[in-house]
Symmetry: C2
Subunit: 435 residues, 2 copies
Amino acid sequence: MRIWLAGLALGGMALLGAPVAAQDNPASAAETDPAAMEWMRGAPPLANRLVRRDDGSFYQFPRTRWSFSNMRMLFPTANIGRGNGPQSNLPENHRGDLDAVSFVPLGGSEPMRWDEALQRSYADAILVLHRGTIVYERYFGVTGRHTPHMSFSMTKSYIGTVAAMLMAEGLLDENETVAHYIPELEDSGFGDATVRQVADMTTAIDYSEDYTDPQSEVFAYAIAGGIFARPEGFSGPDGYYNYLPTLRKEGEHGARFTYRSVNTEVLGWLIARVTGRSAVDVVAERIWSRIGAENDGYMMVDSHGTGWAAGGLNATLRDHARFGEMMRRNGNFNGIQIVPEAVVQQIHRGGSREDFAPAGYTTLPGWSYRDQWWVSHNGAFAARGVHGQTIYIDPAAEMVIVRLASHPMAANAHIDPVSLPAYQAIADHLARQGN
Amino acid sequence: MRIWLAGLALGGMALLGAPVAAQDNPASAAETDPAAMEWMRGAPPLANRLVRRDDGSFYQFPRTRWSFSNMRMLFPTANIGRGNGPQSNLPENHRGDLDAVSFVPLGGSEPMRWDEALQRSYADAILVLHRGTIVYERYFGVTGRHTPHMSFSMTKSYIGTVAAMLMAEGLLDENETVAHYIPELEDSGFGDATVRQVADMTTAIDYSEDYTDPQSEVFAYAIAGGIFARPEGFSGPDGYYNYLPTLRKEGEHGARFTYRSVNTEVLGWLIARVTGRSAVDVVAERIWSRIGAENDGYMMVDSHGTGWAAGGLNATLRDHARFGEMMRRNGNFNGIQIVPEAVVQQIHRGGSREDFAPAGYTTLPGWSYRDQWWVSHNGAFAARGVHGQTIYIDPAAEMVIVRLASHPMAANAHIDPVSLPAYQAIADHLARQGN
């Protein structure tokens, strides 16, 4: 078991959003094209082309380039229904000139082109909306227009948006404690944290990421959720809602931002508790069925049917774009006000930059975190998932970029130096050229 | 492990289509309404309201009344995409008079009404099409219009139809042996069986259903497919395509019909081998994306991504109705010829009644089995799944009935005495009343 756990260790940390050491010189996007590598093809697939959950290989690069587009073939999932209404319209006016847009990566000196940046970021799918029109859209590998792709921590922004809506309606009081709504967490580290602190990740929780300890919280979390298989003899809790009460406080809530995925699990639980529905169903009801989504999405669930609020959403590129465009338009999309304008503005205004700074995100100077969104305080705000997922919303540039990816390195600190200047260059280019 | 296996034994046999002893006096449909019982509701669900895969409780009545409409929350699945085209039109003209249609159950003396029959059959959803118009449609419990429901062995009829299409195209030769296409099965009992014998289940296979033996084929099959969790210490094969080569011959192929689900797994493998695609993808491409389905379907898959060809399809009531209506119209539906007319007619003409008779289905006298369909030789033919699933097609009556159910008894012999006279009574009533 130890060896198995050690093998998953870096992966486990990455999966949950913690920074990991860079993998030196990984094979390139072209070298790891998942269609060419024929993962899980054939009847049956060759033994060395299998991608499995039980041995953790689904989370090993380059198998990730297949698995991130096929999570429901490996995991139990809950559907996120689009409903029975028409798709919302996404007009198209494709512009080949974007491929040649160039920029200088952070810390670099040589210019790089946009199309090169897509390769460098191991993009599986990417789309640029300008003034609501698709001006650029590409799919790679095994990811197509109707392929729901792993969102990782972009899931948090959906959960955070729904929670913010419930706060705006008064169903959730941001100043109340977690224990007020969830007595089961009273004795945990979350008990005296406020809903607001959970939403903005300023709770202080003793959350170990010591991957030499098979009983550490990071493993217990992933195993409780069924993301990693339960090793024989493992005695940790089963299910997110059995896991969260085991966490203890360390320090004082509200003092500073610390990115811990477990906050989002609590936020999902709060949503479920005050609505009487699962957080997945609430996302379906309040977001998915209203944006005119093209496809159903789905959520990975634990053995109790609870969705992985911090990372389990899978959705198509275009449906993420609809969500992003809705946020860009202050909540109004598909002919209806889906999220109250005040909620979107509150997110866009961001959280405390002072609370955020100590977390030490070198590629995000001056940013903050609010309602599970990353806010630049320079116009843009974003949903971000490990391995390169992004919904990047720049209202000033009237632009939304969605990228789904399977980057081998599991920290956006390794991906941002190319991505963030690239997005800015596209915004500048579109502003100059019009649409 | 023995106790656990024994607990699953009856269930396992039923799941795979074998007859099991009747459960005396099970609780009624009303008493086991899965919405009222609140399975998997709450955050988290109460311990006695959990439905799990790992302990086999998903297959214990009355939990089945929830799980059969929620299989993807428990199992890995492959999507069966509806594509991006419009839904096909299903006109509606609901007729309340059907509820009062009455009939006498086989072996009974007292008349029973149609609406009572729905309760007796533990229907989760039922629909009657007359001349292509929905004249009756009901949903019960946790099953709604957009809820894919477990099909069990109705899956076989989809696989059989696709295989028959490939035979008609010459891609599969019905007179060739299985070993010709699948060398991996050369030394198995299937090696010298013909494609036709597999399609019509006249193979002779030593397939033990001795549930006192934890190493018997019936368990090995379900565990290989991941339907039942792999017990610690279990040494059987993993994946359908590792399991099938372990089966041995017993007797001579072609002599008589014997219902064995493993034939359908071989048929699915044949489809995959000659098309280079998974059987699930071929069903999506040739059927689902062409009938104007309203929802994606999904298929339960094993650890190798292989669909459970004999039983793993989950689909909505209306989409099954579209498939049935297509078959009623000799393959022409949604403005296109989806299945060649000759293939549908071959199925409708049926197989050998002489080969079928020795199997001893007392409720199906004079019937036969052809291309994974049950044929009455009295006008109607049907896809049938254990626990009461049916697509019942009566071209003479211009009628298609689809029923999704979660009957506690796992053999249609217990369900047919009510169902078959009920269907005939509806056909007679519609013929008298017109539409």
